[in-house]
Structure formats: structure tokens, C-alpha cells
Subunit: 125 residues, 2 copies
Amino acid sequence: MTPGQTVTAFISAVERKDLDAACALLAEDVHYDNVPMSKSDGRDAARAVLAPFVESATKVSWPVHRQTETGNVVMNERTDAFDFPNGSVAIPVMGVFEVNDEGLITLWRDYFDMRTVETALASLT
Amino acid sequence: MTPGQTVTAFISAVERKDLDAACALLAEDVHYDNVPMSKSDGRDAARAVLAPFVESATKVSWPVHRQTETGNVVMNERTDAFDFPNGSVAIPVMGVFEVNDEGLITLWRDYFDMRTVETALASLT
């Protein structure tokens, strides 16, 4: 897989709510940075950030609007949408990923507006 | 110039505070979207958004940490820093650009955290 295909497979696994498959594409020491929210180091820590959202959602849809890749760096523009039992949220996001020679994601950094997240979560009934 | 080189030249012109040179790289109907803040259409409108920040800054520095390009789409990860007479601000940003066959930027969309901007501006003395 190219780095871009690895990122596509990762996003696809998240959308299937298959955290095992998603996290299998993360390097053991992956740095996962939600810029305005939290940073974490390590595959287990990344999973601990993702799990509450993914597991409580009835549907996860992260459409990628555009994706570019140069060397081992992949960037994409997405809408990260979750359907929860009590409503839906959809967050505009840009992410940057680095993929190592073993095809594992070593860096995942997402840029978004924290107030947009807070407002969306507060709208859940 | 490749699309990536056009974007690099644009960022460089902004850093020189040369709005004429920067805006000469924007298509007349450019869509400029500061996701959590404002959207504008047209070169003149984009300039009107940029000018207050660039013209009141004593120094503009937008280091690009990573840049990727695929086809006519360019994405970058930057820190947009401004020195003002009353202090400095530095905002983590990801941007997506589309460049047309004439080498002009038709789309510029920046993702960042609005509260980070507000906090930085409020810290100016």
C-alpha cells in the first residue's frame, strides 16, 4: 500500500467501527494530536481517545473531500460525522499523517475548531 | 510553476507583506474560507480579509512544516505568526489550495481553532 492507501484504509476501518483494524495501521509509538484538544503517544493511547466516540456512535462517516500525498506524508480534508442515539455531529477537519516504511501511521494530527465540537456535542439531546 | 510552487510563492509574498504579489497569484473568483471565521469570494474580498492583519504587522512569518500536492490540490501545515507593535500571535493552521491551469489559486481554505486566535489576540497589550 502507498501511504495514501494506508490512510484511506485507516479511515475506512474507523467508519466500520473496527478499532482493531484501524489501530493495526497505527505504529506502536504513534503520535496522535487533536490540535485544540489533546495529544497522545502510543497506539493504546490513541485507541483510548477514539473508542468513546466510535463505540457510542450508531454510525461513523468520515467522508474525505480531498487527499494529497507527497513522499510519506498524507493530508486530507474531511467531515468527521457521528450519529449518536441522541443526535448527530459533523466536524470539518484537516488531518496530516506520516506513514513509515512498514506501512504504519507514526503521526496523525487533526486541525479543527474546538468550539464547533463543543457546540455540536451540546446540541445532543 | 507547479501548483505547490504557486502556493509556496503565495505564502512567501504574504511573508514579505507584498499583498500585490500575493493577490496576483489568486484567481479573480478565488474562494477564501477561514473555516471557523469567515468565507469570501473574489480576489478583492480575499485581500480585504488579509490586509488588516498583514498591514498592521511589523513581521509576518508563516513557516510551512509540511506540504503535499496531488494533481492541482496542495495542502500544507503551517504556523501563521504575526508580530504586531503590541505583541505577537502564532496560530497552528492547515490549509488546502486548488490551483487552476493558469497557475492561479481558485480555492484557499484554512482550518484552525478560533478560540486559539481569540486568546492570542486578547493577549496583545
